[in-house]
Amino acid sequence: MSGPRLVRLPEHIVEIVSDAGEGAQKAAIAFAQLCAKAGNGLWTVEIIPSEIQPPPHTTGSASGNRIRLAERSQVTNAGNLANVVLAFNEMALLSRLEAGSLADDVLVLIDDQWATHDNERYQRSYREVLDKFRARGATIVEIPMNAETVRHVEDAERGKNMFAVGLLCALYSKDLSVLQSIIRSIFEKKSRDVIEAAVKLAGAGYQYGIAHFEECFEVRPVPTDVSKVAMNGNTALALGAVSAGFELCSMYPITPATSASHALSEIFEDFGGFVHQAEDEIAAIGVALGASYAGKTALTITSGPGMALKTEFQGLAVMTETPLVIINVQRGGPSTGLPTKIEQSDLLHAIYGAPGDAPKVVMAPSTIEECFYILSVARKVAEEFRMLVIVLSDANLATGQQLFDRPDVSGTPQRPPLDLSPVPLGALPYNWDPTTGLSQRLIPGQPGGMGVTTSLNHDRDGKACYDSERNQRGHTMRSRKLAALQKSLTPPSVHGAPEGDLLLVGWGSTRGAIEEAVDMARDAGLAVSSLNIQFLSPLPPGLHEILAGFRQITTVELNYSDDWEDPLITKENRRYGQLAWMLRAATLLDIDSYAKVPGRPYMPVEIFGEIKRILGDQPGTGSAAEPLLASKGAY
């Protein structure tokens, strides 16, 4: 027997879905590790049901992962339509079609137990869903996953996922022994029997695949000497917080931010830090602010609704010039909205959300790697400028996994001890430099520095005052710090040529998809470039010069904007995407926005379609929910 035919691919996207609790997530983690260890670049996305125990065998129960793997080591986004889907039942499979995630010619691997299942309803829906996929052009491979699994373990529910990952190992021509050692380490804390059964099932899946697949794939990694790490954005934020020297994280549970605090809780005490779970979101920022006032480096981690609750304390941090970092892992809103899904709708709230005029620093990491490094910058800015720094991450970064160069932490500076040296009696707690607004703060315990830190308006001596002159001065000094920070920033760099017909401007995690779309468009001969803005308040220097190089400018954001075609919408009342709103105000340029709320990341092809629409290459295409991929299967 000659075995399956080998097809070499530059990259591929595979999705693994099961009912919640059946272990597709675990299978996907093992497969992602297998790819990562081999040196493939990758990006993974969690597919999460919104309930803990949804009814089984429904589309709402689908749980799993999307894995984009590539020959190159840098994968910057979740990619376009999936090429392969491995489903434990037809409803999980259908859910991915409904999500608009699958290519028409997708290769479907599915458990065949439903074809002959006792429940006739399952039999019928299995046939109907598969017919639907065949009609679209999918290739269906029915696999006796359940039957094969029960040959090795009593309960197929506890092991089918390992059989499945064995299948993928064969399909992608990976090394079975590496997979088995990964499984051993994943199940490290389980009993010997469980581990051995899992290892055996992976082997069985692998053998089944080799014996039955007609075609196998190879995404051959580009060899590299650089050590790589793989983690999600929330873990990167947690490790970044430790590396940046934070000493206290005070939080309250909220999706999708909480896993950052989980990761931090695991390790923080070993590094002299605390994670304090407060009684509510307000107390969470209050404790962080109190710790920072007392001289320690503190942060709080939350998501949109928590940010809303924290606004009064944000104003207090600004007024008292207490350094503080808030991480907001954004999700869909308003209100409870889409708790597990991505949106970028908190930008204006981050910048303006506080009573009165409260200048804050707002930054956004654009990759998971940046999630690791951004907190060092945030801390430095918070402390040197005595400012509130808000870091806007999002659900896409939070739960996606990316491979990136292992950070070199050997040069991490030591936290200096608190400077409690005496100051002359009457030392000014806000000794503002008149040009920059900067001042040196006094820390409790410093002899001579006694005085009240108040939320009331105050002057350089910190004492409450109510007259117009000193109120104006306080505002000016706090605002001037933003200008001083802006002067210290470097202009962002353009992806693509510095001039052309169209510039796409984005912020946060849309960067990867935008740049990939720009690359597609440039390959197609279109004069398009893109810009990712990391500092959103203050906006970075050099924007005017960059924007002047382009005939048209559009922001690409995952937040709401009115469609020009909507009834009642005019130039006067149209609501733009939030970055567009800011850029229009800052530049007086007629900047448009492509801003939607699909609850998932943009696919590069969608953005490419928008580029073509703007540049008049083809008429406008459908909504974000209906993917606009013209060619079947991106690769």
């Binding site: 990562a36 260890k37 040196g39 050590s227 790589k228 790490v229 793989a230 873990t235 490790l239 430790v242 590396s243 000493e247 206290l248 005070s250 390790i267 005490e269 070993d270 590094f271 002299g272 605390f274 304090h276 009684e279 307000i282 107390a283 969470a284 920022i285 209050g286 404790v287 962080a288 602010l289 109190g290 710790a291 006032y293 007392a294 001289g295 320690k296 503190a298 304390f313 104003g315 207090l316 008292t320 491979l403 292992r406 932490v409 050997s410 991490t412 030591q414 409790p444 315990g445 410093q446 002899p447 001579g448 520095g449 006694m450 005085g451 009240v452 830190t453 108040t454 939320s455 004492k463």
Partner: protein, 318 residues
């Protein structure tokens, strides 16, 4: 002013390193006759008695008349936002457990807008002196009903009389897990106030003290016009708050075992006469910040780096 007031004013201070002046900041701007003045002096006395350097102490408050206290106390102070003094104080204690912390709140501040923090702070049992200056009214905003305003009394938001029974904060405190210190006193009993604050200062854990005080402007009739007609009973125990014989004019004494939580709970639910003194004390409840510091490792820098490297190892794939 009652002759009882003199009991506390005359005090030599001999042998103490600091004078009261050392703890004085700007001149208080509370109304004439406001009980806040007396609490400020009592606190300054406690600081002097404990020989504290002004820079070693942090006072934290919320918003309200009484929350101006940190402005007038020459220590480090944080005058924050309404209802949120306790989270800030918790942050200070967690990060700098060497700094003694005083928290000053009003009744609306603590019992109403800050209610959740109040409950949880008692459970955390941070080591701090927590004073609620209860005048049974929102005074800074000019006379609205507070959680402790007596039933039927007229305020600007209840011009035809309040609708609800007042809250009994003592029973709430005694109902919380980890409660470690509860006392009640009044500003018209200055000697008792002094003794209570001293006792609170000496307690290890969260010393919760409710201080009854009259607002002479918006609620002058409260507490039987500032104690003149207010039935109290003094809790008596040799380890409790001393009851000076002169106090007996104001009310009877009642033997009380403040180590017995059931007895303390029974006393806490009784409001007439109002129990004055130490209701409950359990010095063995661990303080949250000490639990946290006890479980925390503080590695030297090379160890820190080594650990960070080994955490990264867990995520290293090639």
């Amino acid at each position: 002013m009652s002759s009882l007031a003199e009991l506390c004013v005359i005090e030599s201070g001999a042998g103490e390193a600091h004078s009261l002046d050392d703890y004085e900041s700007e001149k208080p701007r509370w109304c004439k006759g406001c009980g806040d003045h007396g609490v400020l002096v009592a606190l300054q006395r406690a600081l002097r008695k404990n020989n504290l350097e002004p820079e070693e102490v942090v006072s934290v408050s919320g918003i309200g008349c009484s929350s101006r206290l940190p402005h007038y106390l020459n220590t480090y102070g944080f005058h924050g936002i309404h209802g949120r003094a306790l989270p800030i104080a918790t942050g200070v204690r967690l990060s700098r457990p060497e700094l003694p912390v005083i928290v000053v709140m009003g009744d609306g501040d603590c019992f109403s807008i800050g209610g959740n923090h109040w409950l949880h702070a008692i459970r955390y049992n941070i080591n701090a002196v927590v004073l609620v200056l209860d005048n049974e009214v929102y005074a800074l905003t000019k006379m609205q009903v507070s959680p402790t305003t007596p039933d039927g009394w007229k305020t600007k938001t209840t011009p035809r009389g309040t609708y609800l029974q007042p809250m009994n904060p003592l029973s709430v405190v005694m109902g919380m897990t980890n409660v470690s210190f509860l006392a009640q006193t009044a500003t018209w009993l200055p000697a008792h106030l002094d003794e209570t604050i001293e006792k609170a200062w000496d307690h290890h854990g969260l010393s919760f003290v409710r201080i009854l005080q009259r607002c002479p402007v918006f609620m002058p009739q409260a507490f039987g016009e500032g104690g003149l007609n207010f039935p109290v009973v003094f809790l008596e125990n040799e380890d409790g708050i001393p009851v000076h014989p002169l106090l007996l004019k104001r009310g009877q004494t009642q033997a009380h075992n403040h180590r017995d939580i059931n007895e303390a709970q029974r006393v806490a639910v009784s409001v007439d006469p109002a129990p004055m003194g130490l209701l409950y004390q359990n010095p063995d409840v661990p303080a949250y910040e000490e639990i946290r510091w006890g479980r925390q490792d503080r590695p030297d820098h090379p160890t820190f780096l080594k650990r960070l490297d080994s955490v990264l190892d867990r995520y290293t794939v090639s």
